[in-house]
Symmetry: C2
Subunit: 220 residues, 2 copies
């Protein structure tokens, strides 16, 4: 029984790694499509999101089965409840990658972002991709050194997100309101993607150390 249980816990962990890895692919493709107005690639991201949703639902069902059949306690229980929360964050990261792809599709054949912000969004993309990659590695290895990389990348994203708003408030900003709307939404999507990555990282950290930081539940 114990052996079956451990195998099931292990499978849930592997399920999270798989979902996170698909989220990493989604954000890589979505941001590439976004930067180059690549409709084909944007469509692929939009279509692939259903797979992430399916895998999240499947993982949650398995986690609930383990709760019902094994009645885990203590750290095993926390791990399963934590998995349910992390899968929700990962699913949401997939949605945000899809939103970025949908913006790309909406503005095709134009790019969403004016050239004055190309560099900033390239950097935001790099950081989101980095976060997704580190989250996958963290889920796989439980190497907590990765947590600081993830929160550090998120801090850089926050600065860039603010700088986008500063750019749009400056007199030099002569773009149309439609572009201002798009840039606002896009910047928000890139930022929220990072937030959810941090949320997953903190939960892994908590599950490994048992120490919950006061800001953790505030950070959602």
């Amino acid at each position: 029984m114990r052996k079956v249980f451990q195998a099931e816990l292990h499978q849930i962990g592997e399920g999270l790694v798989e979902i996170s890895s698909l989220v990493g692919e989604a954000i890589s493709k979505a941001t590439a499509a976004f930067a180059s107005a690549d409709l084909q690639q944007a469509q692929e991201v939009i279509a692939a999101d259903a797979r992430i949703d399916f895998l999240q639902n499947d993982l949650d069902e398995r986690a609930i089965d383990v709760l019902a059949l094994q009645g885990p306690v203590a750290s095993d229980l926390r791990m399963i409840v934590g998995s349910l929360r992390m899968s929700a964050s990962l699913e949401r990261m997939g949605d945000l990658a899809r939103h970025i792809a949908q913006l790309t599709r909406l503005r095709f054949p134009n790019t969403v972002i004016p050239t004055s912000l190309t560099g900033t969004f390239a950097e935001l993309a790099r950081l989101d991709i980095l976060i997704a990659g580190k989250v996958t590695e963290l889920l796989d290895t439980r190497d907590l050194a990765l947590v600081a990389d993830i929160t550090g990348a998120k801090a850089e994203i926050s600065k860039l997100h603010k700088s986008v708003f500063t750019t749009m408030a400056a007199p030099q900003w002569q773009e149309t309101p439609a572009t201002t709307v798009d840039v606002t939404l896009a910047s928000r999507y890139f930022e929220r993607f990072g937030d959810h990555g941090v949320s997953v990282a903190r939960k892994v950290s908590y599950l490994v150390t048992g120490e919950w930081q006061p800001e953790d539940f505030l950070a959602g």
Copy 2:
């Protein structure tokens, strides 16, 4: 034992009603402050959000204790797991009310919204307040007739949210980019608030009927 367990389940249900009721207060006050540039009221919403976060954390801890000590199965287990998810959605609704209050504070003594959109945002506010109220009632009574009211209100919000973007894309829109950014973010906050309300409503519906609609896990 069974009696204690039922009492604990009941308390978790009451905890959700309490959080939802605080979320209802938060969105009522936040949208009132937003409409009238009321700094004092905005500050109150921002300060009160910590209480929602605390109650969510507390409820989640109690739910995990019940899982550990009672090892519930079947519908009781689904109810507890569902509670963890619903509490996360409610907490996020509180965050969004706080974001609306923070925008209000940022632009004080001006209003965030130009007069041309006052009516639209008053209607968005009415619908979000309605959703919060119906969600609280639904959690309290499990009267599934309320679910259609909630999804109906959300459908109206989606239309208004789109109309805001149409307004901003029209040649008559002569507001500053900073205002365009604010309106975009505000409209998104009002819309996401409704999304989370629908998410809670669908989970209650599922817990009562045991029937999961295919779109439910896609709707997150």
